[in-house]
Symmetry: C2
Subunit: 236 residues, 2 copies
């Protein structure tokens, strides 16, 4: 039989934790001395060892309580906990990869924009969609991505010119530049992933933020998007 201090020292826990376990009914001491001090016996020690062990595996005290009362539930819960640990490990790896990419970025003087982009992507694309996008970019190769950036600028200027000159939405000229525009975007979206509509939503709802890191104003971008919509609507 041990006092609470002895038990805490023997199991590398704290007196406070043991009192907490007593409070919530997880580990009641075998008895009390006449003056009210807790007395722990060998059975309590064993139970405490089980508790501490399950806690290192990340179980909550409530889960531990139920698993210790229902003997058959133990194996199930341990397997569930293993699955949970594996899942968390996978998530952690993904996060680590993401953070590594961010730190390896070619523009290391300003992480703020990159941070905003990751959060924006998180808000608009599911993890699978993000994987699809990066896979697509990697398949295209970095030089293709760079040339796409250049083409993007050219197309934006061309569309802007159309808008400024009031080019008719059903003219072959307008149709040609919009077709090129759509083809450029399509190169980055795998079919059936929904990345196109997500991109569109992101573009619509964050045009101000997106324009903040592009050399055109919100109004200009909005104008060309609306113009492109009209052109598509007027296609045969």
């Amino acid at each position: 039989m041990w006092t609470i201090g002895q038990l805490a020292q023997a199991t590398r826990t704290t007196v406070r934790a043991l009192r907490h376990y007593d409070e919530i009914g997880l580990l009641r001491p075998t008895g009390r001395t006449p003056n009210g001090h807790r007395r722990y016996g060998p059975e309590d020690l064993r139970r405490l060892y089980r508790i501490r062990s399950l806690r290192t595996f990340g179980m909550s005290l409530e889960e531990i309580a139920t698993s210790l009362e229902a003997p058959g539930a133990m194996e199930t819960l341990l397997h569930a906990q293993l699955a949970l640990l594996s899942q968390r490990a996978a998530e952690l790896d993904a996060l680590r990869a993401q953070l590594t990419r961010l730190l390896d970025h070619d523009d290391p003087d300003d992480y703020l924009k990159a941070l905003e982009m990751t959060a924006m992507l998180d808000a608009y694309f599911t993890p699978e969609q993000q994987d699809s996008l990066t896979a697509r970019r990697e398949a295209l190769g970095p030089e293709a991505v760079e040339s796409a950036k250049g083409e993007f600028r050219t197309l934006v200027e061309a569309l802007l010119a159309c808008v400024r000159n009031d080019v008719a939405p059903d003219s072959p000229e307008a149709r040609d530049v919009v077709a090129k525009w759509d083809a450029l975007g399509a190169g980055f979206h795998a079919a059936g992933t929904g990345t196109e509509t997500a991109t569109r939503r992101m573009w619509d709802e964050n045009s101000e933020e997106i324009s903040a890191r592009l050399p055109w104003s919100t109004e200009e971008l909005r104008a060309i998007v609306s113009f492109a919509d009209t052109v598509r609507a007027n296609r045969p």
Copy 2:
């Protein structure tokens, strides 16, 4: 300019979280309408994106606040966070391996004893010491471990016989059996790791619990340990 609800929806956060950020001064809205409703501007949105991004990397709101105020601290903090994530990943892997071993154990009908043992090991051996012990066991091979278990039982019985028959602690018979006992234990301890003294402490402080899963009583075990001590003390 957006209301709190619009901002929450656009960034996949919650109204409550935004109010919380306002409360702690992490993200103050640009202004308020005359009636007191919060109004968020583009600058707020960008800041929120940074906040959410840093949060997915596991930073606390306090860390985020400091890193957003001090622009130079950002890179340092991101690297520190990457190191932290890597460390947690390693810990998670170790836990997963431990839990897998426990579930693969050859005695699957009773996890309770195994759980008690893992907690006991955690309490008495540092992680390095535990690694050293398992490495030693694996180097010896499973058949050697099994034969050691048998030899262990034989030696315990021999020591018990010595105690019961009041064999003199300086007799060659006693010295022989204690030498064999020490040699058996030494086979599992790598030199300089401190596992021997840790094992001894564990044995002394948990003799009741250890005896609970051995076919001898606490008193018998205590008696042979004390006898062995005497024999060692009487060695030339």
